[in-house]
């Protein structure tokens, strides 16, 4: 990895950490449950980006499976929260 790409990766990691901090502010402040669900979904997406950049920095694809697994698990969590909000219960 060249020094140019190293510098770009570290800059992007810093920006992603700032966006995680901003999203955690919404997670704390969110007036009701749907705001917090959206914030959790966004935090999952930001962690997927952080894992991608860390894979590039370390030069290893060992953790790359977490990217698509985390996408699917995040969808399941959001769908469960939405079902609970709409029906008031998860199962019949």
């Amino acid at each position: 990895m060249s020094p140019f790409l190293q510098a770009v990766c570290e800059l992007c990691l810093a920006a992603l950490l700032i966006s995680v901090a901003l999203t955690i502010l919404r997670l704390i402040a969110g007036p009701r449950a749907a705001d917090r669900a959206i914030a959790l979904d966004t935090i999952t997406m930001e962690f997927v980006g952080i894992i991608c950049i860390l894979c590039m920095v370390w030069g290893s694809d060992l953790y790359f499976d977490t990217v698509w697994i985390l996408t699917l698990v995040g969808f399941l969590g959001s769908a469960a929260i939405a079902r609970y909000l709409e029906r008031g219960r998860l199962f019949r």
Binding site: S2, P3, F4, L5, V8, C9, L11, C12, A15, L16, I18, S19, V20, L22, T23, L25, R26, R32, A34, D35, A37, I38, A39, D41, T42, M45, E46, V48, G49, C52, I53, C55, M56, D61, F64, D65, V67, W68, T71, L72, G74, F75, S78, A79, I81, A82, R83, L85, E86
Partner: protein, 124 residues
């Protein structure tokens, strides 16, 4: 230090995706009600994360086909699942009668889903 063509091809989607993710976080913090926040998280967030994964795909492309296949699969899952999850959450929030902001000019969903809520749950 002069970046090579490969460096530029990795760095451009990386910086664009990081910028879009930062825009998502700022929009999530600044928008007035839950539907506007879903607008920010569902569109800009999906494209930002997909661009970051695409940068990793280009970076690992010379080492073999393993990471590109998994990365493109992750991008496909992202484009399938995140808008669906946001739509589910928006519908649930509307049925649970989350308030819109005062600046809302027109609620086009009220004739359809408003009646659905009253008839199914007996709310007024």
């Amino acid at each position: 230090m002069m970046p090579s063509l490969f460096d530029v091809m990795v760095a451009v989607p990386l910086v664009l995706g990081t910028f879009l993710t930062l825009v998502t976080a700022v929009g999530l913090l600044r928008f007035p009600d839950v539907y506007c926040r879903m607008h920010a998280a569902g569109k800009a967030g999906t494209l930002g994360v997909s661009l970051i994964i695409f940068a990793a795909v280009i970076f690992f492309a010379p080492t073999g086909a393993s990471v590109p296949i998994r990365g493109l699969l992750a991008i496909a899952f992202q484009f399938l699942t995140t808008p669906a999850a946001t739509h589910l959450l928006a519908r649930a929030a509307y049925v649970a009668e989350y308030p819109c902001t005062e600046r809302t000019a027109l609620d086009e969903l009220a004739p359809y889903l408003g009646g659905y809520v009253r008839e199914r749950y007996g709310k007024e």
